[in-house]
């Protein structure tokens, strides 16, 4: 006769509230993504529905179906920063032009500052998660060089962005060159 004591706890944890809430929100968001362009098309005027749809897609990706892998604070800051730049660019281009050159670099260097603080707050853990900061720095440098090539005079936010990204790039290469190299090897492996 088999002789093994197998027991399980009586606890049946968890409710389905969150599950259903996400389901309902997904449905509402999906409806919103379809309805907004239709309403915009028939009511005419500026293309506000593009901004609404991009925002809803971001909401979906960030809160309703977040990434299961590597959805850590560094990545979240990167994604929020990228979203802020995309949405402001769209607002600037589609609704009220004239302020993009000032606001975008402010968002850029703010994201960089937050990422650096976060990175340094737990250096040992974030050492293996340097990629978002690397990308932000490269994007900021690219932004600065584009602005430098296009604009005759540079405003203070773009100068700050350029100086900050350049400093981070130089310091990063001096202090973390091994980590950056290892990170690149890992991220680019094809085995």
């Amino acid at each position: 006769m088999a002789d093994i004591r197998i027991e399980y706890s009586d606890k049946t944890k968890g409710s389905l509230f969150l599950f259903w809430m996400i389901k309902v929100l997904k449905m509402l968001t999906f409806m919103g993504i379809i309805i907004c362009p239709v309403v915009n098309y028939y009511t005419g005027g500026k293309a506000w529905s593009v901004i609404a749809d991009v925002s809803m897609i971001f909401f979906w990706m960030e809160f309703l179906a977040p990434d299961i892998l590597e959805n850590n604070a560094m990545r979240q800051v990167f994604r929020v920063g990228t979203f802020a730049i995309v949405i402001n660019t769209l607002i600037g281009l589609l609704l009220s032009p004239g302020w993009l050159g000032f606001v975008l670099p402010i968002i850029g260097f703010s994201t960089l500052i937050i990422s650096v603080i976060l990175f340094l707050s737990n250096l040992e853990r974030h050492r293996n998660c340097i990629m978002p900061l690397l990308l932000e720095t490269l994007m900021a440098l690219a932004g600065f060089f584009v602005a430098n090539a296009v604009e005759e005079t540079l405003n203070w936010p773009i100068i700050t962005l350029g100086a900050l990204s350049f400093t981070i790039a130089i310091l990063g290469l001096i202090v973390f060159h091994n980590d950056i190299w290892t990170e690149l090897k890992k991220r680019l492996h094809i085995k």
Binding site: M1, A2, D3, I4, R5, I6, E7, Y8, S9, D10, K11, T12, K13, G14, L16, F19, A65, P66, D67, I68, L69, E70, N71, N72, A73, M74, N122, E124, R125, H126, R127, N128, C129, T182, K186, R187, L188, H189, I190, K191
Partner: protein, 497 residues
């Protein structure tokens, strides 16, 4: 705070020489750790708790300090987390197919004769993990493939509650891809399938249990799958043996196939929603299988076919059962702790599934034909070619395509799964402390049940993870067993969600 106070009281109760011994013992822990201070505090806290427990059982302070010596930590907590491992061929599909609440997890458990001491289990895990560096990892995204990145931290043991094989939280920087749990007399280890397969996981569990028992006074042993935690990990244990040992076969096949006939019953929101275990007397099971002239796996599959047949009202289509095949049996030189399994499909039409006497020989014949080295070589080569051919396609393109293909094929391709780990062996010196083992597979997306089994001593445990609350499958399985004269003891978790 409570623990700190308790340790202070304990320290004050010691003689001066014992006090000095304990201070030097704790100093050793500080020297062996180069982690953030909160992690070091947790590790030294584990050592203190284990020390208090052992001395509380009457062990001398000197003997307790010797057993829990900081040299057991090795260099694991002192070295930086610089190792990383590309995923093995079998694991590559898992991160591509996971979604919220659905994750390929499996659980291996060991049932002891006495209740588990959490303090000792924690320190045993602190000591054991260094021998399994590919388990102390977290999965990350590369540009072309995912990979396992090492994590240096203390991995906590948790009290087990709820239903087995719940998804792991693997999103944050320092999260983990496995967990160790305890409940009464059970020690369980649950693994995200990217880390290892059942055989690799069982080596980990056996080594952990052996270390746990050793800390409680059992002799130090190795062999029968128990690794020496004092030895450094062998390089080939960490290798992708699909790549290293892939036979040079020119033939290749495919993974696609028609959708299988699924059991009825509404899919539950929480998966698994229940686990039912049928505990058989191994001798009775063997006798029954021999009477039918088949193996235990074939007998179990045959019972499952009959039970599956009763759990659906649809008759058109094929009942297709997935049976994982351990490739190590074809490659004895493999000592990989990573995934090294392929699978075969045992297919019968519902009209063929009537009586066990008719089903068993057909199942046995298919098992024999489809699990040969030649068949498995073809599958292994196909997998290797597939991996090689898409290696330069960025993940951003591969992932959605894989998700669609997996959605269409991966899960609906099979009606059920039977993973049999076979006979589990432990060194004779430890057998007296152990009642048995069990093995539980997480559920799939569409299949209503996944079955897994293993045996130890006279206990063979068949675990059924359910994806629906409809009990027809397991009820019929139990009824068939009784008809065959192999009455199982039935244990089940509460219905979850």
């Amino acid at each position: 705070m409570k623990a700190k106070k308790a340790f202070q009281i304990y320290l004050n109760s010691l003689t001066e020489s014992d006090k000095a011994l304990v201070q030097s013992f704790l100093k050793g822990y500080w020297e062996h750790c180069d982690l953030p201070s909160d992690e070091i505090k947790l590790l030294t806290g584990d050592a203190k708790a284990a020390l208090m427990y052992l001395t509380g059982t009457g062990l001398s302070t000197e003997e307790a300090c010797k057993r829990l010596g900081s040299e057991n930590l090795g260099g694991f907590y002192a070295h930086k987390a610089i190792s990383w491992y590309p995923l093995d061929d079998a694991a590559k599909v898992y991160p591509l197919s996971i979604k919220a609440g659905k994750m390929p997890i499996f659980r291996l458990s060991c049932y002891l004769k006495d209740d588990v001491v959490p303090e000792i289990l924690q320190i045993a895990l602190d000591f054991t993990i260094k021998r399994f560096p590919s388990f102390a990892t977290i999965i990350r995204k590369g540009i072309f493939w995912h990979y396992l990145d090492s994590v240096k931290r203390r991995f906590p043991v948790m009290k087990d509650f709820g239903v087995p094989c719940q998804p792991l939280k693997i999103a944050s920087v320092g999260s983990q891809s496995f967990r160790v749990m305890y409940y009464k007399n059970r020690i369980s280890a649950e693994f995200f399938h990217v880390l290892t397969d059942g055989s690799g996981g069982m080596m980990f569990l056996k080594t952990l249990v052996a270390e746990y028992l050793h800390l409680l006074g059992a002799p130090k042993v190795k062999g029968c799958g128990v690794l020496d935690i004092g030895e450094p990990p062998v390089v080939t244990e960490l290798s992708n043996d699909f790549e290293r040992l892939c036979p040079k076969t020119k033939k290749s096949g495919g993974f696609a196939g028609p959708a299988a006939l699924q059991m009825g019953g509404r899919l539950s929101k929480n998966t698994p929603c229940k686990v039912v275990q049928l505990v058989y007397d191994t001798q009775e099971l063997l006798k029954c299988a021999h009477n039918l002239g088949v193996s235990v796996t074939a007998l179990t599959l045959s019972m499952m076919f009959l039970a599956n047949r009763s759990a659906t009202e649809v008759n058109n289509g094929m009942l297709q059962f997935q049976v994982p095949v351990n490739m190590r049996k074809f490659f004895p030189e493999s000592d990989s702790l990573r995934n090294f399994s392929m699978y075969c499909s045992i297919d019968l039409s519902p009209s063929e599934v009537n009586k066990i006497e008719e089903v068993a020989p057909k199942v046995a014949q298919q098992l024999q034909q489809k699990t040969t080295f030649a068949e498995m070589s073809v599958m292994m080569t196909t997998a290797r070619r597939l991996v090689t051919s898409v290696k330069l396609v960025p993940l951003i393109i591969k992932a959605p395509i894989a998700r669609i293909i997996y959605g269409f094929l991966g899960d609906s391709r099979f009606s059920n799964t039977l993973s049999n780990l076979g006979k589990i062996e432990m060194p004779a010196e430890l057998s007296d402390y152990i009642q048995g083992f069990d093995f539980i597979l997480g559920t799939c997306v569409v299949s209503r049940a996944s079955c897994s089994m293993c045996s130890f001593g006279n206990n063979t445990v068949l675990s059924v993870s359910k994806n629906t609350k409809d009990p027809s499958f397991e009820e019929r399985l139990a009824a068939i067993s009784e008809e065959l004269g192999i009455r199982p003891q039935i244990v089940e978790t509460p219905l979850y969600g």
